[in-house]
Symmetry: C2
Subunit: 102 residues, 2 copies
């Protein structure tokens, strides 16, 4: 149980995924992210810490605010993990198609 892929666990929570999707529109501060969400600001701060631990976001100090943006490293890790399954999956799909056609 090597427990790799912390990115998948990080993106499993709906609220955390919502935060991450909002960063798709560009970098934003904690307050900006928490503004439209139904949870408190500290909750968003904790979610951002989890996303940062999974290398999915990066933070930068800008005065008293902290600006977060998407980190490509976490995305790359997911893609690499995901690509391991494609050959097997497509092979299985081809077999199923062949079975249903005959």
């Amino acid at each position: 149980m090597t427990n790799g892929q912390p990115q998948l666990a990080a993106l499993a929570d709906p609220t955390r995924r919502e935060v991450f999707e909002r960063l798709r529109a560009g970098e934003a501060s904690v307050g900006d992210l928490a503004r439209g969400l139904p949870v408190s600001r500290p909750a968003v701060s904790q979610h951002l810490r989890a996303l940062k631990a999974a290398h999915l976001v990066t933070d930068r100090a800008e005065g008293t605010r902290r600006v977060y943006r998407i980190d490509p490293h976490g995305l790359a890790a997911i893609r690499t993990w995901l690509d391991q399954f494609w050959e097997v999956a497509l092979q299985a799909y081809a077999q199923e198609v062949a079975r249903s056609e005959h």
Copy 2:
């Protein structure tokens, strides 16, 4: 909080991810999958139900056994969701490189 991407929640659990990774070697029955895992067989059965609900696996009856294999549909859903972030992520990365070089 539209709660899309049930695949990410399904693959967040380490045990469930281990089951999924074992199917990469080819289709297998519930007992075969549970044999090398530190959890009981009903636990594996429940995990397979979750994976099936997320369209990550397909099951087929073979006598009294049930054979599971990887389903490409769930993988495709993850890839589609993931691809939405790449342009933004690479753009952010390029900016960071430019900042550190000057």
